[in-house]
């Protein structure tokens, strides 16, 4: 372990569903240091989303313990220690963009003036300054997801959990949002845990990629990403980028002796 106290520490976490018949996660041990950007990658059914939800205390582990900022996960949730972004923006359609971003601040009891100031900062951060009074349905999918990111970061949590946040977007929007997310991460210096099934996205964004394998969900291996920072559009053409992508792909393949058809497809997609 590094000297700094980890933001997230996962110790011996096992999660079974349906009276123990399905093991979604088995003996997971992980620790994420401050300011790390960690991606969890693996085929569907590997439990990466389950693991994220365990960290966020939306699911309780069957065995093992999760600490966030040195506290039990439940306490960390009660203390608003993390922000979360789902695959869909999950914006409240009856609230304007500004009011959506202000939602967690309202729940924290911030007064109106303070909320307003922070919402303006967040709108600037995700470059939606002129859209504060719009309703979510007036925005494109990519813009909605930027609002969701702004909402997750509005109260400056030390930890940002992202569950395939760009999975529903087209490739071009996704690449642009990847760059924006990195810029935001550098500015705010929070720890990010990012679930994805795109190898190139994981390598491009992360400081570390955790590869998971299915049935039961386990850690197949970890790849440290030593690409230079800050990353730009050119990073994707860096030979080192390809080496790392290959490394992650090998780890996925190594554990993929008994692949389901959709997992085969995933590997083929990754090899394109």
């Amino acid at each position: 372990m590094s000297a700094a106290e980890p933001v997230v520490r996962i110790e011996g976490v096992t999660k079974t569903f349906g009276h123990g018949n399905v093991t979604a996660l088995q003996d997971i041990d992980l620790a994420f240091a401050p300011k790390e950007f960690v991606s969890l990658i693996g085929p569907s059914g590997c439990g990466k989303s389950t693991l994220l939800r365990v960290i966020g205390d939306l699911i309780e582990p069957t065995q093992g313990a999760v600490t966030v900022n040195g506290k039990r996960a439940r306490q960390a949730r009660a203390d608003h220690d993390y922000g979360i972004v789902f695959q869909d923006a999950v914006l409240f359609e009856w609230r304007t963009v500004s009011k959506n971003i202000a939602l967690p601040l309202e729940l924290l009891g911030w007064d109106r003036a303070r909320r307003k100031a922070r919402v303006e900062e967040m709108l600037e951060l995700v470059e939606l300054q002129t859209f504060g009074d719009h309703y979510p349905w007036q925005l494109s999918g990519g813009m909605q997801q930027r609002v969701a990111i702004a909402r997750a970061l509005a109260f400056e949590p030390a930890l940002l959990l992202m569950d395939e946040p760009f999975g529903a977007l087209d490739e071009m929007t996704r690449e642009r949002l990847n760059l924006e997310l990195l810029a935001i991460w550098q500015k705010l210096a929070s720890t990010v845990v990012f679930v994805t099934h795109s190898i190139s996205e994981a390598v491009f964004l992360s400081t570390r990629v955790v590869v998971m394998s299915p049935r039961p969900g386990r850690i197949a291996g970890t790849v440290d990403i030593d690409l230079t920072s800050p990353r730009t559009a050119e990073t994707r053409e860096d030979p080192r980028f390809f080496e790392l992508v290959t490394q992650v792909r090998e780890l996925l393949r190594l554990r993929g002796e008994h692949l389901l058809p959709e997992e085969e497809q995933l590997l083929r997609d990754a090899a394109e």
Partner: protein, 285 residues
């Protein structure tokens, strides 16, 4: 923006008036065809079964009895009285219905236990329970609520049901991931209710309130019958019923006023919905 909406409102009013005019023309045309052909199916057409449009219109301007103001004045007074009952019944029914919806969404056993009885309550005809409500409620009411207060309770009996059922459905309609999001904020049940479930339920609640708006007018009119109240439209309907064979136009005039009151209630609810609910254009109806 405002100019366009004014133009739209004018256009809509013209369409409604045009339709009313067309309806009157149809009425007179039907009369004319049936009387000149001498048809008696499904009923014989004459001045009693279908008074002329202008006879009904004229009835508004004439006193129903000697030494009384014109019928329209009397009917408007009675409509005002019925409206008072209906508004109180609508408000009472809406609040009770909403509260039932909130209670049931938070407790599965409560829902399973209570819902059948709530549904059963609506299978009993209102005329069958109205006398009991009058007997039970009236003695408990202060002087200024005597009579019409019981009628409001009867109207509430008709209105709470659609509101309860739709509120329950609406509160359930909150997105599962939105509920997850609220969990990540460690939001209390109360916060989840007011910040997520209630706003999500509003389109459902408002479609129930539209039904409740017209039901409350019907409930108020019917509630007046067993109460023996003469001050409202229900009393007027009973009264003019007795003289229908002599002066049918007076009952028709009363019916028109009752219908207008129902429409007014409906329009007010729709306007309130427009002011409160901001949804994607394809979601609102």
């Amino acid at each position: 923006m405002t100019k366009a909406s004014v133009r739209r409102a004018v256009g809509r009013s013209l369409a409604v008036l045009g339709l009313a005019a067309a309806l009157m023309v149809c009425w007179e045309l039907y009369r004319w065809v049936w009387t000149s052909a001498g048809w008696t199916w499904p009923f014989a057409v004459n001045d009693t079964s279908m008074p002329h449009v202008w006879t009904i219109a004229k009835a508004f301007g004439q006193p129903a009895q000697v030494n009384q103001p014109p019928l329209i004045t009397i009917l408007l007074h009675k409509a005002l009285f019925t409206a008072k009952e209906a508004v109180a019944g609508f408000a009472l029914g809406a609040v009770i219905g909403f509260a039932i919806g909130v209670a049931l969404v938070h407790s599965k056993p409560l829902e399973r236990g209570f819902l059948p009885y709530i549904v059963a309550s609506q299978t009993i005809p209102i005329l069958a329970i109205a006398p009991m409500v009058v007997i039970w409620v009236n003695p408990r009411l202060p002087a200024n609520l005597q009579g019409w207060g019981a009628v409001a309770v009867i109207a509430a009996y008709l209105t709470f049901f659609p509101v309860a059922i739709n509120t329950l459905r609406g509160l359930r309609s909150a997105d599962a991931r939105a509920l997850d999001l609220m969990r990540t904020y460690a939001a209390s049940r109360w916060t989840v209710l007011w910040k997520l479930r209630v706003p999500a339920s509003l389109p459902f609640v408002f479609s129930a309130l539209r039904i409740a708006a017209t039901a409350s007018v019907v409930g108020a009119i019917i509630g007046e019958l067993p109460s023996g109240l003469q001050s409202g439209l229900g009393g007027a309907i009973i009264n003019f019923n007795q003289y229908y064979s002599i002066e049918p136009q007076e009952l028709w005039a009363t019916n028109i006023v009752a219908a207008a009151l129902g429409i007014l209630f409906f329009v007010v609810v729709v306007a309130a919905e427009k002011a409160v609910v901001h949804r994607a254009p394809e979601v609102t109806t």
